[in-house]
């Protein structure tokens, strides 16, 4: 399931990793049989297998500089990742064979434990990287660049204010704020008296995504104050990522109820505006979910990479001490 899509990229590395592991196990078993006991890392077999494992571990770390130097196009990213994945997995059995199936002292045991953590965290990350993006593609159509979530949200606030200014006029309570805004809302309102353009999530038939919506809005004067009040009190804080007094907006179902009540408190002509505000809230909820998914997707790398660094450094110490007392 995990490999189905890119099996062609994985196959050579799977073969190489399997070849390394199987040949190492067989060679070690044969050499141990000849020696009459499980030979360790200092034997020719153990040393060669250990060296191969070390080279793989060090080459795994090259993924980081390769990422930094991606402008030089040092091979395809998929190939790098496949090699990283399968050769990395091979280091576990190789290290085990190198040790002669014997944990040894503190340092060697520590190295084995660290390697196990690196491998497990790598597998964990691999699963996450396979599952979460697919899920996001289906469930987060409003997905944007994570680092730009707050920026896009501020734009959404600006859009909402423009729309409300056009539809409901400038709120007396917010006049000073509007005057300081980047957009000359009065001018914009003049230009967009008939139509407004808003970037929001909407559904058209079977497609659902973030689209540019053109809408003609007309709000009855008696609703204007209500809409402005609700917007400033609840919707805008939520869109800006601040805690809204009413947490209903953070949840899909409760948000739907909240907007339903909001709609019922206004005349039917305000529905168009309220719908757009609801779309913006939904967009923000997806941003929040995307932010969580992003943390799941990337924070494990901090563990995986840092333990890998620790492993590599201690591996050097292991080599130095092994040569001194081998």
């Amino acid at each position: 399931m995990l490999l189905a899509r890119h099996f062609r990229h994985h196959l050579p590395w799977i073969c190489l990793a399997l070849t390394l592991v199987i040949s190492s196990v067989l060679w070690h078993a044969y050499a141990s049989r000849v020696a009459g006991r499980w030979i360790g890392g200092s034997s020719l077999t153990g040393l060669v297998i250990g060296s191969v494992a070390t080279l793989i571990i060090l080459s795994e770390l090259l993924l980081w500089p390769r990422k930094k130097l991606r402008r030089y196009r040092l091979g395809r990213a998929k190939s790098w990742m496949s090699a990283h994945l399968w050769l990395g997995l091979a280091t576990g059995p190789l290290a085990l064979v190198h040790s002669g199936y014997h944990f040894g002292g503190t340092l060697s045991t520590l190295l084995m434990c660290l390697l196990a953590v690196v491998l497990l965290s790598g597998i964990y990350g691999w699963l996450l990287q396979t599952i979460i993006p697919k899920w996001m593609l289906v469930n987060l159509p409003a997905e944007t660049i994570v680092s730009q979530i707050e920026h896009v949200s501020r734009q959404a606030v600006q859009d909402a204010r423009t729309m409300l200014t056009v539809a409901c006029g400038v709120s007396p309570a917010e006049q000073s704020d509007l005057a300081e805004s980047r957009w000359n809302t009065a001018e914009a309102a003049e230009d967009a008296k008939a139509m407004i353009v808003i970037g929001a999530v909407s559904q058209r038939g079977g497609l659902r995504g973030r689209t540019l919506v053109t809408a003609q809005v007309q709000v009855e004067p008696e609703d204007q104050q209500t809409i402005w009040r609700q917007y400033l009190s609840f919707i805008e804080p939520f869109l800006l990522g601040n805690s809204s007094p009413d947490r209903s907006l953070a949840d899909n179902q409760r948000s739907e109820q909240w907007f339903s009540m909001f709609r019922s408190s206004c005349s039917s002509t305000a529905s168009e505006v309220i719908d757009r505000l609801e779309d913006l809230c939904q967009q923000r909820r997806q941003f929040n979910t995307q932010d969580k998914a992003h943390r799941w997707l990337h924070n494990w790398i901090a563990i995986h990479a840092s333990i890998s660094i620790l492993l590599a450094v201690l591996l050097v110490a292991h080599i130095v001490l092994a040569i001194r007392f081998w």
Partner: protein
């Protein structure tokens, strides 16, 4: 003015990827931390091992209990820096490395070589102690127990390692057919004593079933009578324990065959135990107290303890004296008798009688010569040839009677219990009463896989037949014969 789609796309900073978000910060912090911790630990590990503060940190495992007293304080007590200690390590076979490592072991262990007189010196020089004695495998690990392969490596083709090819036969397995040569030390009995176990095990030690001269309990002097028992016909019935007593009391094990074997009355066991508890007649026995404690051997059979009950010497001659003393004793005792019986003045007759009596003691097939071979060399210090009965028969291996106490003596010494007459071409004195390889392999197998599967009826009583069960590497056979054996070999 209305904002177009292009305007909106420009509203996102195209250099967004240059910005450091929280996840990148986290990676950098953790990475830096790992680097610092890794470098710190590395420095500590290296420092600890070099400064001998806590070498256990870099040790590959706990030392065996025999070396545990050294602790993990200093690797260089056994290791030589930057020199591979294990022979299977890369460059581990380098002669300089082996010598450097063995020198460290020799500082504490004055171990004997291995067939130094037979093995090529370059082969021995290339063998590191650690080749067999593997350390750092845990406290409970035995440094002595070895896999058969360790021995077979050389013994499967001894010609390649021996100074003179063909002197010794190859060995590849104890229990497989042809895998182990017959026991060399059992091929010939070097003893000079003429003794029939079969006859002595018969009731009354009769030569034949209707032998009228069979020994009855009444014919045994009263002072020795309590040591023996008679059967229902009044004939003396000996058993093994009447003459063979262990070097120390057997450990009491319920169900032990030697301790309660069916063919041996309890009284005989008691006697054997009582005899074994007596102060040993031979000082050499007391010298080997460590072996006594292992209950491996039997005390040598002695005339004054085991034979004299039935075989009293005439003229109260003392057994075991040298030639001059024995002759003097015989002449003195015989002279007393002759003088008492002779007619005064008839010195010629007296002299002849004295010579006859002495000749009767030394004559072929009489008295001494009944059991001993007379020494033809008059210059020799003794009248009869040394008995040459080995106190330890299996000289190339170790055998423990205590370990086999659950078995009847006849399992290995079948000939000693046989009622069949000795074969004409194999005199009794040359007949070894010890079963050979074919007896051992009934119970000892070297195939560990077979041994592991003891579920079948035929396998449940099988036991280990590994090389180290009987052999020791550091015993050079000429030096391996214990002092008791040496004393026995030199005693008439």
């Amino acid at each position: 003015m209305i904002e177009s789609g292009r305007d909106r796309s420009r509203r996102i900073d195209t250099n967004y990827h240059r910005k450091v978000d929280a996840s990148i910060k986290l990676k950098r912090i953790y990475g830096l931390l790992a680097l610092v911790v890794g470098l710190g630990l590395s420095v500590w590990f290296v420092y600890a091992s070099i400064s001998a503060r806590d070498s256990g940190a870099v040790s590959t495992g706990a030392l065996a209990s025999a070396h545990a007293f050294m602790g993990d304080s200093d690797c260089l007590k056994c290791h030589t820096a930057n020199v591979p200690i294990r022979s299977d390590a890369v460059w581990g076979k380098d002669l300089h490395h082996v010598a450097a490592n063995n020198q460290k072991c020799d500082a504490c262990h004055a171990s004997a070589g291995h067939f130094v007189s037979h093995t090529r010196s370059d082969v021995l020089d290339s063998l590191s102690c650690s080749e067999c004695h593997r350390e750092h495998l845990g406290k409970q690990t035995s440094l002595v127990l070895q896999d058969d392969l360790q021995c077979i490596r050389c013994h499967e083709n001894l010609s390649a390692v021996a100074k003179i090819a063909g002197q010794r036969k190859d060995a590849t397995s104890f229990s497989k057919a042809g895998g182990h040569p017959e026991f060399r030390s059992l091929t010939n009995d070097p003893g000079t004593i003429a003794f029939s176990h079969a006859q002595h095990m018969r009731p009354g030690q009769a030569f034949a079933a209707d032998d009228k001269s069979a020994t009855t309990l009444a014919r045994i002097p009263s002072q020795f009578r309590h040591l023996y028992r008679a059967n229902s016909q009044g004939l003396v019935q000996l058993d093994c324990a009447d003459c063979h007593s262990p070097d120390s009391a057997w450990p009491k094990v319920s169900g032990s065959t030697l301790g309660s074997r069916a063919n041996t009355p309890d009284s005989a066991i008691d006697r054997a135990t009582a005899q074994s508890l007596e102060p040993p007649a031979d000082q050499a026995i007391s010298a080997s107290t460590s072996r006594q404690a292992e209950h491996r051997y039997f005390q040598p059979v002695e005339f004054d303890r085991h034979c004299v009950g039935c075989h009293q010497l005439p003229l109260k001659i003392q057994h075991g004296l040298d030639r001059a003393a024995t002759i003097e004793q015989i002449q003195r005792a015989a002279a007393v008798t002759v003088v008492q019986q002779h007619t005064p003045g008839d010195l010629a007759t007296a002299s002849t009688q004295l010579a006859d009596r002495v000749a009767a003691i030394f004559g072929q097939g009489k008295m001494c010569a009944k059991c001993h071979q007379l020494e033809s060399d008059q210059a020799a210090g003794h009248i009869v040839r040394p008995s040459n009965i080995p106190a330890r028969w299996l000289q190339g291996a170790r055998f423990s009677h205590a370990a086999h106490r659950d078995h009847a003596c006849s399992l290995c010494h079948a000939d000693a219990h046989s009622n069949s007459p000795p074969e004409a071409n194999q005199p009794l004195a040359q007949r070894v009463m010890i079963g050979g390889l074919n007896v051992c392999v009934k119970c000892h197998i070297s195939d560990s896989q077979q041994l592991a599967d003891r579920s079948s009826e035929t396998m449940k009583n099988m036991t280990d037949g590994a090389c180290v069960t009987c052999h020791r590497y550091h015993l050079d056979p000429p030096n391996a014969i214990d002092r008791r054996a040496s004393a026995e070999m030199g005693r008439p």
